[in-house]
Symmetry: C2
Subunit: 458 residues, 2 copies
Amino acid sequence: MQHIKQYVDQNRQRLLDELFALLRFPSVSADPKYKPEVLKTADYVAQKLRDAGADNVEICQTAGYPIVYGEKIIDASKPTVLVYGHYDVQPADPLELWKTPPFEPTIRDGKIYARGACDDKGQFYMHVKAFELMMQTNTLPCNIKFMIEGEEEVGSSNLGIFVKANKEKLKADVVLISDTSMISMEHPSLETGLRGLSYLEVEVTGPNRDLHSGVYGGAVANPITILTKMIASLHDENNHITIPGFYDKVIPLTAEERTALNNAPYDEEEYKKDLDIAEVWGEKGYTTFERTGTRPTLEVNGIWGGYIGEGAKTVLPSKAHAKISMRLVPNQTSDAITELFTKHFLSIAPANVKVKVTPHHGGEPAVTPTDSIAYRAAQKAIAESFGKDPIPTRGGGSIPIVALFEAELGLKTVLMGFGLDSDALHSPNEKYDIFNYYKGIETIPLFHKYFAELSSAV
Amino acid sequence: MQHIKQYVDQNRQRLLDELFALLRFPSVSADPKYKPEVLKTADYVAQKLRDAGADNVEICQTAGYPIVYGEKIIDASKPTVLVYGHYDVQPADPLELWKTPPFEPTIRDGKIYARGACDDKGQFYMHVKAFELMMQTNTLPCNIKFMIEGEEEVGSSNLGIFVKANKEKLKADVVLISDTSMISMEHPSLETGLRGLSYLEVEVTGPNRDLHSGVYGGAVANPITILTKMIASLHDENNHITIPGFYDKVIPLTAEERTALNNAPYDEEEYKKDLDIAEVWGEKGYTTFERTGTRPTLEVNGIWGGYIGEGAKTVLPSKAHAKISMRLVPNQTSDAITELFTKHFLSIAPANVKVKVTPHHGGEPAVTPTDSIAYRAAQKAIAESFGKDPIPTRGGGSIPIVALFEAELGLKTVLMGFGLDSDALHSPNEKYDIFNYYKGIETIPLFHKYFAELSSAV
């Protein structure tokens, strides 16, 4: 499509500058100290939607951070695409590991380094700019609605309430989200499933105060020692999760599904080399793709207790803590797993400590159909802009909104992500390739075009 | 001894004010940011020794923090007591748990609350003031030397070098240290043994960067999970340490020693109530006194890895760390145990992570004889000032200097401590009873008196 390439070429620098401005906001939703910055980010997104040509742009207040809404209804008889994204980002620490400041986007060999570069500012902003492109070139073929939230990285806790309360406003035919990855630019892919999440924090209390490890060591249960034994017991020798009932609801993949899944290109030597590990790890009897895409997992996201400062302190601490999350697969539910974990974790606590389990947030797993008009539109759009058909994959991450949309609005979602696993999401030195950014802006109008065409053909 | 009580009564407030001034110095040797304060503390101690009447007071430089020396030689033919203490303190964190600021001494129901109130500022300063008392009342019966160091809480790493280089200067007949506890003021006691120490830091590295726990979780070894499994394996189901060879050198107590040890008053209900724990913990087949006083132990003093900030971050971290220390009993040596731990810890590391073990510092265990002139002098002094004979006990803590003195100077040590286990050493709200402070100042001159008398009687 000539007009697309032309528009992107003519606006190349500005498209990048606007993204950089967006990336400079430290919109960390997990840490209250960034609140003013998160709110400013919402204002910026609203302004950019207006500039792009959206109507009825609103900053919708919630109990937490606001949701930015905007729309362009060209013809009520045409199909409507609801674009979802999030303007909040993960915390940037450990800061010392960033080569350049997380909130000062920097280009190194064709890549934009910044927190949120890929997750999700770089990706949702492609939709704002693709929309501008269609408006400026009079090629918008369908109605479009935007819903950009600010709490995705902390569990989207207020989005459900908003969606329930605004079903009419959000009425659409499909949800389009770019917040996932492709295998590579040579192997474009489309995610057909996402894992759910159950995130908890545990606290183990031993003595009522920190103790001298010489005076009390060996006679009083050390909460760190107890916590390590409790956590260690959560995986057996096959790295199978030991929580009773944890796998009960999991539906085994069919032989065909496993074959299809493992047909996607995967070079284990490359994978290990990229991460500098000698061996992969995981549940016995499954491949890496199966482990990350189709099996539930349990990870310790953080642990702390006792003296963690410089030098040595001979203390037997009063408390030890850990943040633990589980990724869920279709048919498991966040609440049920949270309850199973809590019950089990409390049950394995020895009598000499007190244990507290606090749920943080959760999200439900989801699978997207591969035979829908919307999925076919995405396939055609990618095939045209990449020159080859996308490979269907199962993503390991979680976008709770996907299950929410299906439950509340009866809408299926298309996960048309342009990131790469190597983009270091949630890590220091998160990046997004400039190539992918422009490629997304060029591909998205094709999705709308084919979605409109295939819909009217029905 | 009338003159002692009289002197203390007449100087009660000043004796307290001077200690408060000493406690206001945040002399934390483990944290480089306190360096200027630690050095000021040494100056203060030197000045107070001069004021009390010591000669040849020197601030002796070392590769680390200086050692304050001072002496009073009244007659070369009389015995000489070498008083050891330390002016450095443990870090104060966790700060939020202090009821009043750690470096602003505060009195609550007869107790001085401050970091170092008991360990060891409050205790070594009793000796400075008891020396002043003997000088002012012309009752100093023997020669006295002071050696107050500033690196005890970080392993006294430069003291050995200093002692080796100054054997003549430090020539004495006994070492006297107040840096330990009594069972209670109703049950005065004398420690006859101390445990050694081996302190290490371990680092487990998984992937070369923090990863998104959804994208990689379940397929890449999480260094926290691996570290918890490694630490959990260090104690078996009987809380016996699993490091091969760890107990080889330990000499079992005789039936008599065990009986004597367990005759000391111990109220388990009180012990548990004080710590708010439902059960004690420890190596199967031993009592609490045996576990803390006569058995080697292994404690995790600190652990950290991943995201430990506010809220939730779904990260699979690159690294996890722990600080681990072992308390050693007579016949075990710090270097040998450090080597055994390192070898074992590396040997249990799975191939999918990299493990690094870094020794921090160590100290050798020691047992003090109960039949020496010095021990008997301490017994008589305590019996006179408390009105009952002290109970011999085995301390769980470590004062590496004790073994060092024996090895380098051929001197035995008397551990005449006036603290209490409930003083919260190394913990928030460390305290020292005003009563114990004055009691120490009154008892110490009696030690010197009886030590001189019994020595001349030989």
